[in-house]
């Protein structure tokens, strides 16, 4: 039903495509937009466009960045030589929120999953290898999720880096079996990172 308002329907459909949003919420959000002042809506729309246009990936680590390098890579106070490898930028932000880890990151943008058509060449791995080769990296912490795919990716990375003699570790299984970082509290993440183990 579009109540004779196909535009409103289209807006609802756009919201519904977002994660965690069903029909009901999508409607509520759409009506909220209708209630907003015109300038506010303009601003919102402009932000959406600019976000897409100006935010890209950091050339070095794959994190989101508004310029060539991301904030973390530009931060001189971060410890060089330690890399934490994560599946996606969302995981990076979760780890950052613990304020415990002071090393650098590397974002893979996925994990190995043949079922989803994702192989090694689809991940940000060439760059990872290059960094290990060129940046004098001492340790790579592979913080992919403890799923079958995350574990396999970690194993793949540890084998890929074997020849460089770099220490490859994995956060200890303080993490609940089969869960993803998203649902774990920061205390657990911190503890798991402290107890990381070699693979």
């Amino acid at each position: 039903m579009d109540y004779g308002l196909p535009l409103l329907r289209a807006l609802i459909e756009h919201f519904r495509k977002l994660p965690g949003i069903g029909e009901k919420t999508a409607k509520r959000l759409s009506f909220a937009i209708l209630d907003m002042k015109t300038e506010e809506v303009n601003d919102f729309a402009e932000t959406l466009l600019q976000v897409k246009k100006r935010i890209g990936f950091c050339r070095r680590c794959g994190n989101l960045a508004e310029s060539e390098f991301c904030q973390i890579c530009n931060d001189k106070s971060r410890t060089e030589g330690i890399l934490c490898v994560v599946e996606r930028t969302a995981d990076l932000y979760i780890l950052e929120s613990t304020h415990q880890y002071r090393g650098c990151y590397h974002v893979l943008h996925g994990v190995l999953s043949p079922l989803d058509g994702v192989g090694a060449e689809d991940l940000n791995l060439v760059e990872l290898e290059k960094r290990v080769r060129e940046e004098n990296i001492r340790e790579v912490i592979v913080a992919t999720n403890p799923s079958v795919e995350g574990d396999t990716t970690a194993l793949y990375i540890s084998r890929m880096l074997e020849k460089y003699g770099v220490k490859v570790t994995r956060p200890a299984r303080g993490l609940p079996l089969g869960s993803s970082l998203e649902f774990v509290d920061s205390g657990t993440i911190t503890r798991a990172l402290e107890n990381r183990e070699s693979i």
Binding site: L112, P114, G119, A120, V148, L155, Y156, L177
Partner: protein, 381 residues
């Protein structure tokens, strides 16, 4: 574990039911196609998170209705009361909650109500295809060990992922470099599966042998041996699995799927020195299948310190009077039993004469109110 009561709305032909149960024997009688198995299926739904009869959940939704609901009130052996709920809307997935709290994955519910079920198809357990025996061990182990369940789920996932890579090779002639990592994962989890299964078989085979000896005194002893498809030594170690994978590599790449692993394993069953599968009589095979299932209950009990709920669907109408009495002697009022049967005549006396036994009859999905068969002190439910 005791299932105290169930409430049902729109589950198959049961439009509405609210039944409370005995802690010993619950007998469900009725003519064919009235809803006996449907009730067991509804109870068992809480054990597996899905129907034991079908993988298509919409089948359990009553024709013409658009939602199903079932609630189970239980009491654990440590005297904790809790309730489980399942609901299903048309075109939706089954949703479950424990004490009103939604659970995220169905595997969270496996093992909550430890269950053993014997259905008419299970007479093939001892003599039918190996898959049934693997499921038997897997399902027993999964109910006593969340770690095993997690490994089993991982193993299946890895198998699927790896098969996609092999299929890709079969189609294109190019093997991606990741195959080694998947191999290693498969090997590691596969070895854990074998060890978990062997451990479980060690538990159940002894009990099953004792039970068979009890009901058939002097018969050849029952022996069950884990047959690991990839390890002639029978240990199923990661090393053996790794070697076996290596050996089947050319074949796998040609055919595009995994050709070694615990998913090809079996359990060999002997009476004395003779293989049951080839040489056993129909009657023997059936009795062995039954003791295997009852031994499963004993194994769960031992490992979990929680009594399983035993569901027996129509097993006595298949047995002659003598066999029926013998099997009856193995049933126990230590467990809560749910037994379906066309009538009470074919049931062994223990089921009707134990104090607290309750009889329900069902016609067209409507249950009579439970009738206590024999009054007395009754086991507290």
């Amino acid at each position: 574990m005791i299932v105290r009561a169930i409430e049902i709305r729109n589950f198959r032909n049961i439009s509405r039911a609210a039944l409370s149960f005995s802690g010993t024997f619950n007998l469900i009688t009725g003519r064919n196609a009235q809803g006996k198995t449907n009730l067991l299926e509804a109870i068992h739904l809480f054990s597996l998170g899905r129907s034991f009869r079908t993988r298509r959940s919409e089948e359990i939704l009553m024709f013409g209705e658009d939602y199903m609901f079932a609630r189970l009130s239980c009491k654990s052996d440590s005297s904790v009361d809790f309730r489980l709920e399942m609901s299903l809307e048309r075109e939706g997935n089954i949703k479950a909650s424990i004490n009103g709290k939604r659970i995220s994955g169905m595997s969270e519910i496996i093992g909550v109500i430890p269950t053993v079920i014997f259905t008419p198809g299970d007479v093939m357990l001892a003599s039918g295809p190996p898959g049934g025996r693997r499921t038997y061990l897997d399902y027993t182990a999964a109910q006593v060990s969340p770690a095993f369940l997690s490994d089993l789920k991982s193993y299946r996932k890895i198998l699927k992922q790896r098969n996609v890579l092999l299929k890709g090779y079969a189609d294109t002639g190019r093997m991606s470099g990741e195959i080694d990592a998947w191999d290693e994962q498969l090997v590691e989890k596969g070895a854990k599966i074998v060890s978990g299964r062997k451990d479980m078989l060690g538990e159940t085979s002894l009990v099953a042998a004792d039970m068979l000896e009890e009901i058939l005194p002097g018969s050849e002893p029952l022996r069950m041996v884990y047959e690991c498809s990839f390890d002639p030594e029978g240990n199923g170690t990661a090393d053996a699995f790794r070697k076996a994978l290596h050996a089947v590599r050319p074949g796998e790449r040609r055919r595009g799927h995994t050709m070694a692993g615990p998913h090809y394993d079996d359990v060999a069953i002997y009476l004395g020195k003779t293989g049951l599968r080839r040489y056993g009589s129909q009657g023997r095979k059936r009795l062995v299948a039954i003791v295997m299932k009852l031994a499963q209950a004993a194994a769960i009990m031992k490992r979990r310190a929680e009594r399983p709920v035993v569901l027996l669907d129509d097993i006595f109408s298949e047995l002659d009077a003598e066999a029926s009495t013998r099997v009856g002697s193995l049933l126990s009022d230590k467990y809560q039993n749910f037994i379906t049967s066309p009538g009470t005549e074919v049931l062994p006396r223990v089921t009707t004469e134990t104090s607290g036994a309750v009889l329900y009859s069902v016609a067209s999905g409507v249950f009579s109110s439970g009738k206590e068969l024999r009054c007395g002190v009754g086991v507290e439910t």
